[in-house]
């Protein structure tokens, strides 16, 4: 949806006020229930055994000793999560990430899981599972992984997006290209060109609440799951697909969520909890220890980005080019593609080209993290933009204003923009007193632009009016940090009633 200016001058009664959040009292008294705060009758405790190797063939898993331990109610491996993905490679990757099949693809990759009467017994059971590994060479660095002769994460990955299909397998799962115009011609028109390589390491979302769920599969094939998630509809669909449930028979309830930042949009342990519960015939609670969160739930991509930008002395960018390599972990993602789409989206460019490479490495599967992929691309592009402005001798803010996208600009990723606020925003920043405030010792000042889209997911909304005239708003969207308050305000505004 394009920016709608018609609300700009509207006065609101509820929207814009700051009432106490509806979830507030529960959260300050410790009553709010997060993923790990829920229990079910007869519940077991789950635990996951993880690979100590970054890359290894799983030759054999012997669970017999674990299964015999008193108090152990279920032990599962990939054999208990058969492949029902029917050729859907995205789903297969999720299944493989939840429980390694023939190979462990990163340090921390799940290889087996148990459900037992208590946490101690579950941990003891894990120690009794014997896994025979054949350790394979691994690659974790995004630039090393694309070099010829690098260890292959998968022997059957042939770069998609290249025509004709390459004859040799590689760790580049996909190439994607965005842009328009002729960059070679554009660079010839440039007076100054800045060309740099930028590398960023992977970073973890670091939500304070580790992943946690309670899964309960009933004898009649219905199932219940309580889970901290950023999208319970997606979780329901994915879990149902992987485990062969009818979507209508799997009820997923989202708990309070202790931070997600994108990392809780993906399933990690939830299908495992369901598989354990199905095998044990009892509810299973599965909580990731912090160490597992860091080892086995997705960080951002590590990146290596080549940027080349040329401009005339008057500050007009004549050409902009980027080659972006994003680590995906062991499974193809769309991280480099998102980087390629967003990298130059802030600017009005005649000649632009961004090429993204999805690079497979022996690290945990990369996950969404706050405008996934865009910050790294912005870091690279904006660093080069700053340097270019300095070389031209132009104020970096003015330089950006001069090149900012505006209504009617054909964006670097394709669409033509409707009304877009970057120009006025930059002007407001330029005119702000803080931009001219004197700097103290060891202080600096800088600015950068970034671009992100909006995505929708599945949800549903109910608005009920009670017999007493009060309104109940039920929204099937997870409240990650304020949706209840803000959506209630919107409802109150539209209905012309007070928030209280």
């Amino acid at each position: 949806m394009n920016f709608d200016a018609s609300f700009a001058a509207k006065k609101f009664d509820s929207v814009g006020t700051r009432p106490v959040r509806p979830d507030g009292v529960d959260k300050v008294t410790g009553r709010a229930r997060y993923g790990a705060d829920f229990n079910m009758p007869g519940q077991l405790v789950g635990a996951i055994l993880r690979s100590p190797h970054a890359h290894a063939k799983i030759k054999k898993i012997d669970v017999s000793k674990a299964a015999k331990l008193k108090g152990v109610k279920a032990v599962i491996t990939a054999a208990d999560m058969p492949d029902l993905t029917d050729g859907n490679s995205d789903l297969y990757d999720i299944l493989d990430n939840c429980m390694a099949r023939d190979k462990a693809l990163y340090d921390g990759h799940a290889v087996a899981a148990v459900a037992a009467v208590d946490a101690h017994t579950a941990r003891e059971a894990l120690k009794r599972i014997k896994v025979s590994y054949q350790v394979l060479p691994h690659v974790t660095d995004v630039d090393q992984a694309v070099k010829p002769g690098a260890p292959l994460v998968h022997k059957d990955t042939f770069t998609a997006g290249i025509d004709p299909r390459p004859a040799k397998p590689s760790n580049v799962a996909k190439r994607s290209e965005y842009g328009h115009g002729d960059v070679d011609k554009g660079f010839k028109q440039a007076d100054i060109i800045v060309e740099r390589n930028y590398r960023t390491e992977q970073t973890h979302q670091g939500y304070i609440e580790p992943h946690a769920c309670v899964a309960s599969v009933n004898a009649d094939g219905t199932a219940d799951m309580w889970v901290c998630t950023q999208g319970h509809f997606v979780f329901r669909q994915t879990c149902a697909d992987l485990l062969g449930f009818d979507v209508s028979k799997l009820r997923v309830t989202s708990s309070e969520i202790g931070g997600g930042f994108g990392g809780k949009t993906h399933v990690w342990i939830e299908p495992v909890a369901l598989a354990l519960s199905r095998k044990a015939g009892r509810p299973v609670k599965l909580v990731m220890p912090r160490e597992d969160v860091f080892r086995a739930s997705g960080p951002t991509s590590a990146t290596s980005i080549d940027v080349r930008i040329g401009a005339r002395k008057d500050g007009t960018i004549t050409a902009a080019q980027a080659d972006l390599r994003y680590s995906c972990g062991p499974y193809q993602g769309m991280w480099a593609e998102l980087g390629a789409m967003t990298s130059f989206a802030c600017y009005d460019l005649e000649n632009v080209k961004s090429v993204g490479h999805e690079v497979l490495v022996n690290r945990p599967k990369s996950a969404a993290y706050r405008a996934p992929s865009a910050p790294m691309a912005a870091f690279a592009v904006e660093s080069a933009v700053d340097e270019l402005a300095h070389q031209i001798g132009m104020d970096p803010v003015e330089f950006r204003i001069k090149n900012a996208a505006k209504q009617g600009t054909k964006s670097s990723y394709g669409p033509v923009y409707g009304p877009i606020g970057i120009g006025p925003t930059l002007e407001a920043a330029r005119d702000h007193p803080h931009m001219k405030a004197r700097l103290g010792q060891n202080q600096g000042r800088g600015m950068a632009c970034g671009f992100w889209f909006n995505f929708g997911g599945q949800t549903c909304t109910d608005l009920n009016i009670g017999l007493d005239g009060t309104v109940t708003l039920a929204v099937g969207t997870v409240d990650v940090g304020g949706a209840r308050a803000s959506l209630s305000l919107v409802a109150a505004e539209e209905l012309g009633i007070s928030y209280d």
Partner: protein, 158 residues
């Protein structure tokens, strides 16, 4: 097996509980006693989400054995409000929107309570120092600091 009986006092109430010797106080509070207000964010004393007060000392419940609770007085988030009446820190956190996802909030409140009991008029720097053992990923800390400053003022009767 190696379960031992522990008699302790939690939020003023006498409590008897059986636990394994290697269980932490946090495990005992959450899994044995249903006091899930204290959260396990890390289990290694880094995040402060399990902050409780034991005999007047602020500690991470994940770094205390349940067995050590014997004969001690423990204060948790569940005992912070007086019935329906919120503690001034709790009210202040609500008013200042000093919480978003809220999972770190119980730990921050307990740590802030400990601070104000020992230092009723802390400076901003002292507040930030005292709360350095509590991690928050949502707020950026600023609103938390302001909420504590305001609660200190209210508690002093200002």
């Amino acid at each position: 097996m190696t379960a031992i009986a522990v008699s302790t006092t939690i939020n003023g109430d006498d409590v008897d509980v059986l636990c394994r010797t290697d269980e932490t106080l946090l495990d005992v509070l959450r899994d044995r006693l249903g006091l899930t207000g204290s959260k396990e964010g890390c289990g290694t004393g880094d995040c402060g989400a399990c902050s409780v007060i034991v005999d007047g000392r602020l500690v991470c419940a994940c770094l205390v054995l349940g067995a050590e609770a014997e004969g001690r007085h423990i204060e948790t988030i569940e005992g912070m409000a007086n019935g329906d009446e919120l503690h001034p820190l709790q009210s202040s956190f609500l008013e200042h929107a000093a919480l978003q996802c809220g999972v770190c909030t119980p730990g921050f409140l307990i740590a802030a309570k400990d601070l104000l009991e020992k230092n009723p008029e802390p400076s901003e720097e002292e507040i930030r120092f005292a709360l350095a053992g509590n991690l928050c990923r949502c707020t950026g800390y600023d609103k938390i600091v302001r909420a504590v400053q305001d609660a200190a003022r209210v508690m002093k009767g200002g």
